[in-house]
Amino acid sequence: MSYSRRDFFCRGVCLAALAVAGTRKQAGAVTRRPGDLIPPREADYWESAEGQRVLCKLCPKECRVDDLERGYCGVRENKGGKYYTHIYGAVCAAHSDPIEKKPFFHFLPGTTAFSIATVGCNMDCAFCQNWEISQIRPEQMEVYYMPPDEVAGYAVTSGDKSIAYTYTEPVIFYEFMYDCAAASRTRGIRNVMVSNGYIQEKPLRKLCGVMDGIKIDLKSYREKYYQEICAGELAPVLDALQVIRDEGVWMEIVYLMVPTLNDSEEEIDGLCTWIADKLGADVPVHFTRFHPQYRLKHLPVTPLDRLERALGIAKAKGLHYVYVGNVTGHESESTRCPACGNVVVRRVGYTILEVSLNGGKCAHCGNSIPGVWH
């Protein structure tokens, strides 16, 4: 369970297959080979439009989809004027991961999350490390049919404390995610989403009712970057962050620093100012190292000094919990109490070495450390 996400997929989703094969034995999951589709389920959040068209209201793209066509995500299809999802229960990857890998640093440290995904995404980030599953269509990959009760059951039997909806973009498998979360909460399992935050307000507020933690990949603080590098928009993501804050769901932010594209001092300054102002100083922010991937193979790995510069800017703006990610062994992987400066959670990579918290308070000075600790 020490594989990185990249390792995980570079090994041909074998680990996922193995993990789910185990699940199949226990829970009777059904394999669907490439070319097959899980029977479609009517989607939530869409409206009828002119003719037989539909207007998708799940994400801000608001795809206007003709009969026989699919939305941008590639997983929702108009069939005769009704909108369907092809990925309800269609799990393409499943694995028990350390929660730190998502990354969540203030959420049940040292526990594992049963992490699942379906294919598809509502963006197309040029640096995507999981494009082999996020940028394909459901019929192009072998999947396992795992209804929500089985997902919840597997998390329980495998000792995972939470279910993480991750690897691709959970917003596009919204209905499945919601039902899994609802089914697992009654069995004492927490639920976390790892998302780009590109979702409309109404479905997001409803989702917050069953989520215990949400990690948002904030790609940039510039619209141009979102449009040109991610095929998305910044403004709706900033709106979503505020909705999550408003709903009181635990939230952490990851900012992947791509050399020359989103790592300028001005941009990081603006980003941190906005976070401090709109979300507050207690939201953990992870500045993570980019590795050449997908359509950005020509760019170098993020220099460490750029990450540390971002760290310095964030701290100067008053953010209390700032981390450097994808740099194993970096001092900032550990959580320090902003009041006394002592380490309260010491980490190396995904390994927890020490937790100095008593009931969510610093064991050294008694200061409350925000998060979900038990």
């Binding site: 795809c63 003709d66 066509e69 941008y72 995500c73 269509r137 192009q140 040109e228 997908y294 359509r295």
Partner: protein
């Protein structure tokens, strides 16, 4: 290469994949005049009906001879296909029947290639999926001189091809197997990108067509056709337009279709689309519908395909010579 294997590999290739041979000339210079040839079947009158195979074959022969300026079909096909041995045919089967490719038309073409192109080793009729082909009445054939099958069976080439801002896996038929491609679009309105004729038909070549629909397909349709592996192999566009549709596409809507009875041909994919765009605008005006721009879906990707960055063909109607065979 099986699909599962190349998802596991997933290498990035910024440049083009190698193409095999294609000696046919291409029209890409904006100063040149391109030609679009059309023939009409005056007997065709029933919307949605498949054409008569023999009539379709005769129409294909006529437009081809005119297009190449050659007296015999053997010379015509040699002029188009050069030294190609494996020829790919890309029909459009998205909407099932009605305003989709018909087996009669494709069979007529296959028969003509077999009879008149001595260099032919194999024809591959390919679409997105076996299901799409079956829905249109095609029989799946996975061996023999004439094969007919979907990308879901044939798979995609293992390397990502990036053109413009989108990266795609491209059909193995296109990249690895075919020496030349004949595009067999239909002639119809499209609710997102304006019209769906030749350029749009290559959405069926990539694993992620849903990523190409933003901004009414502009510049994504043009970018897709600029992929060297498509650009270098696409030698002819042969549009089956017995039934054409001016509104409500891509599904077949008989109330918005007309029995055009046409076969159109060009070696310039942009010119063909531009002529069809104009024709659809004329039809929409005749029916009291707004222009495609007025409907919010002007197919500007056709103009982009002709711009200095793409140079895929001629979009200036003044530089397109339309020849109507009577």
């Amino acid at each position: 290469m099986r699909r599962r294997r190349f998802f596991a590999h997933g290498l990035l290739i910024l440049a083009a994949c190698k193409s095999k041979t294609s000696s046919a000339s291409r029209v890409g210079d904006e100063s040149q005049v391109s030609r679009v040839i059309s023939a009409r079947d005056p007997a065709y009158s029933k919307i949605g009906q498949a054409p008569d195979e023999q009539v379709a074959g005769e129409m294909i022969a006529r437009v081809l001879r005119e297009l190449t300026g050659t007296p015999t079909l053997q010379e015509s096909w040699r002029a188009i296909l050069g030294n190609a041995k494996v020829v790919g045919l890309k029909p459009n089967c998205l909407s099932g029947r009605g305003v989709a490719s018909s087996p009669a038309f494709v069979n007529a073409l296959c028969r003509q290639l077999v009879d008149n192109y001595p260099g032919l080793e194999k024809i591959i009729i390919w679409e997105r999926s076996d299901k799409d082909l079956r829905t249109c009445g095609f029989e799946i054939r996975t061996s023999g001189r004439i094969m007919c099958l979907g990308n879901d069976r044939g798979g995609y080439h293992q390397d990502l091809i990036v053109e413009g801002s989108i990266g795609s896996l491209v059909s193995s038929f296109v990249v690895d197997q075919c020496d030349a491609l004949i595009n067999l679009p239909v002639f119809k309105d499209h609710g997102i990108v304006g019209i769906s004729v030749g350029l749009k038909n290559y959405y069926g070549a990539v694993h992620n067509p849903n990523k190409y629909h933003l901004n009414h397909g502009d510049p994504y349709v043009a970018d897709l056709n600029r992929m060297p592996v498509i650009r270098s192999k696409n030698v002819l566009s042969l549009c089956e337009a017995f039934t054409a549709q001016y509104e409500g596409g891509p599904p077949f809507m008989p109330q918005w279709s007309w029995p055009a009875g046409l076969v159109l041909a060009s070696t310039d994919p942009v010119a063909l689309d531009r002529v069809c765009w104009r024709t659809i605008e004329e039809k929409r005006k005749e029916k009291g519908l707004p222009t495609l721009a007025g409907a919010g879906r002007e197919p500007t990707y056709i103009l982009t395909a002709a711009d200095s960055e793409h140079r895929l063909g001629q979009a200036d109607l003044k530089r397109i010579k339309e020849i109507v065979l009577t």
